[in-house]
């Protein structure tokens, strides 16, 4: 039998058990970001998601410092991700406070909070480099993501979180759709719009934090927004669009993780985002709901009929 190309071997799950678990974990993460991303996009929370993602950096650094101070390994995932979640929540609260309590607009609030938190994180990273402890080198993977050195248990934990996120979206699906389409109508009829918005933000936060290890904080927003943007070209129906978006997210993350498995030096997040981008391009052209091709054919048929 002819030798398969190494990428094909990995894609067809013929690599080692650990690689397979990591790839499936990445796919679960991609599905979750794709599903949550639909509402991040429809409710126009893409920029907030990006700010929140960048704001995890100081948290990761603080988590590292705290773990080392308490005698744990600086790469202990629980410390790093708890820290990430904490500063992400702080950033979200800061954005809301600035937008509500000052005369600055929301996009100004978002941009300044993103930059400030990220800058603080970079300073902390520099401080960590001067500490006399091991493991600092591992921290930069949280910027652009990596699958190398990922433990099986880590991948399984991330996958479980991803499944929980998808389940919550499924249970709140019609209410999330309603507030995304017509928030005033929802509010007028007694739906808790503020709470549902908070739920969207919380889900974004969870997928951002669990995505840090594989995709990294700089690019995770792309895995939230590119899949739904691509899915929009395949369906005019929020439900079907969400399924397609989850599938595109899962495929991008799976494929990106596979490439990074055969060349461990490539930043996994960047590869995943490029795969997602190619799927977006293909969707813009070939999408069955509003792709350029069906539109061109529709326009030609109209001209013929006229």
């Amino acid at each position: 039998m002819a030798e398969l190309h190494p990428l094909l071997q990995v894609l067809l799950l013929q690599a080692g058990y650990n690689t397979i678990v990591v790839m499936l974990g990445a796919a679960a993460l991609g599905a979750a970001t794709g599903v949550v991303g639909v509402f991040a996009m429809l409710r126009r929370r893409a920029l907030v998601a990006d700010a929140v993602a960048h704001a995890t950096l100081p948290g990761v650094a603080l988590g590292f410092i705290l773990a080392v101070a308490l005698g744990f390994s600086g790469r202990n995932l629980s410390f790093l991700l708890s820290g990430a979640a904490l500063t992400a929540v702080l950033a979200a609260l800061s954005i809301q406070w600035i937008a509500n309590r000052t005369r600055l607009t929301e996009d100004t609030a978002i941009a300044s909070v993103l930059a400030t938190f990220f800058a603080f994180g970079i300073v902390l990273l520099t401080v960590i480099q001067t500490l006399k402890t091991g493991g600092q080198a591992g921290l930069d993977i949280y910027l652009l993501g990596a699958t190398a050195g990922m433990l099986r248990e880590e991948a399984i934990t991330l996958a479980l979180f991803a499944i929980a996120v998808a389940l919550i979206v499924a249970l709140l699906f019609k209410e999330l759709t309603l507030i995304s389409f017509d928030a005033d109508y929802a509010r007028a009829h007694g739906f808790p719009v503020r709470l549902l918005d908070l739920a969207i933000l919380a889900l974004v936060l969870v997928v951002v934090v669990i995505g840090l290890r594989i995709v990294g904080l700089v690019l995770i927003v792309a895995l939230l927004i590119t899949p739904p943007a691509a899915a929009r070209f395949w369906s005019d129906h929020t439900g079907r669009m969400t399924v397609v978006s989850g599938a595109i997210g899962a495929f991008s993350a799976y494929f990106g993780a596979a490439i990074s498995a055969i060349s461990p030096d490539t930043p996994t997040g960047a590869v995943i985002v490029l795969v997602a981008f190619f799927l977006l391009l293909a969707s813009i052209v070939f999408g069955t709901a509003r792709g350029l091709l069906v539109r061109a054919i529709g326009a030609r048929n109209l001209r013929r009929a006229a």
Binding site: K174, E175, F181, Y185, R187, H189, H237, M241, A289
Partner: protein, 245 residues
């Protein structure tokens, strides 16, 4: 004592320091078609939004069938201005009408085939039965307005509050909506519309509220929609009144 579908007492709404609505009181009739009329910026939309709790009340009280709105959400149906939503949204006409059923479907439950069939029935009532699977952005403005009306019908409410339903719609839509409103009136409902077109008030409505930040006049169209009241509302001096230019 009669219980009014809508009773507004001394309602004031402020944006910043400016009063959009000042000490407004109105006891709506038990049933029928009521128009809220007034110039741009007179506080017509603010009135609806304050009634529904979408903007805060600086002062005053609102009751729906004698109780606060929080206890009466199932009795009201709100139709926002058509321009207030993004019609590019991934939804079909049937999906949007089904939203009117969400409260009855309840939390954590999906929209089922039976709900879509019900939505279709309400689309039929606004003569859009064949458009159930059409993406909402592919509908004309008038058809979009009828989708919104069908969504409100799906709620089986007793009090309908509509913000500019006749703005920019075609003649067919105007006819369909007027027909639906009359059926609602005959069924005992009250339909309240923010309305901008003075020329059609007499033809469509039987009650009118003339509003310019405060209540100018309200009552049956025949006795209330007079040139004097209209000129007081719009601040235009009437030709009959040459001395006061």
């Amino acid at each position: 004592m009669t219980i009014h579908p809508l009773s507004v007492k001394n309602l004031t709404v402020r944006y910043g320091g400016r009063a959009a609505l000042d000490n407004f009181s109105w006891d709506a009739p038990e049933r029928g078609l009521a128009a809220i009329v007034g110039p741009n910026g007179a506080g017509k939309s603010s009135l609806l939004k304050a009634v529904l709790g979408l903007v805060p009340k600086a002062a005053g009280r609102v009751e729906i069938f004698g109780k606060p709105i929080s206890e009466q959400r199932d009795l009201i149906a709100y139709v926002p201005q058509r321009a207030s939503v993004d019609w590019d949204f991934p939804a079909t006409a049937g999906d949007v009408v089904a939203m009117g059923l969400y409260r009855r479907i309840g939390w954590l439950r999906p929209v089922r085939a039976a709900d879509h069939a019900a939505a279709r029935k309400y689309l039929d009532m606004v003569r859009l039965g064949d458009f159930a699977d059409r993406q909402i952005g592919a509908l004309s403005g008038g058809q979009q307005q009828r989708v919104f009306l069908a969504r409100a019908l799906a709620q089986q409410a007793k009090l309908f509050l509509l913000d500019e339903p006749f703005a920019g719609v075609d003649a067919v839509t105007e006819g369909v909506m007027t027909g639906v409103f009359r059926e609602l009136r005959n069924a005992g409902s009250l339909v309240v519309c923010v309305h901008h077109d003075l020329s059609s008030v007499q033809e469509i409505f039987d009650h009118v509220v003339l509003l310019h930040r405060e209540m100018i006049a309200s009552g049956p169209v025949g006795t209330t929609f007079t040139p004097e009241n209209i000129s007081r509302t719009y601040g235009v001096p009437l030709a009959l009144n040459p001395g006061n230019g």
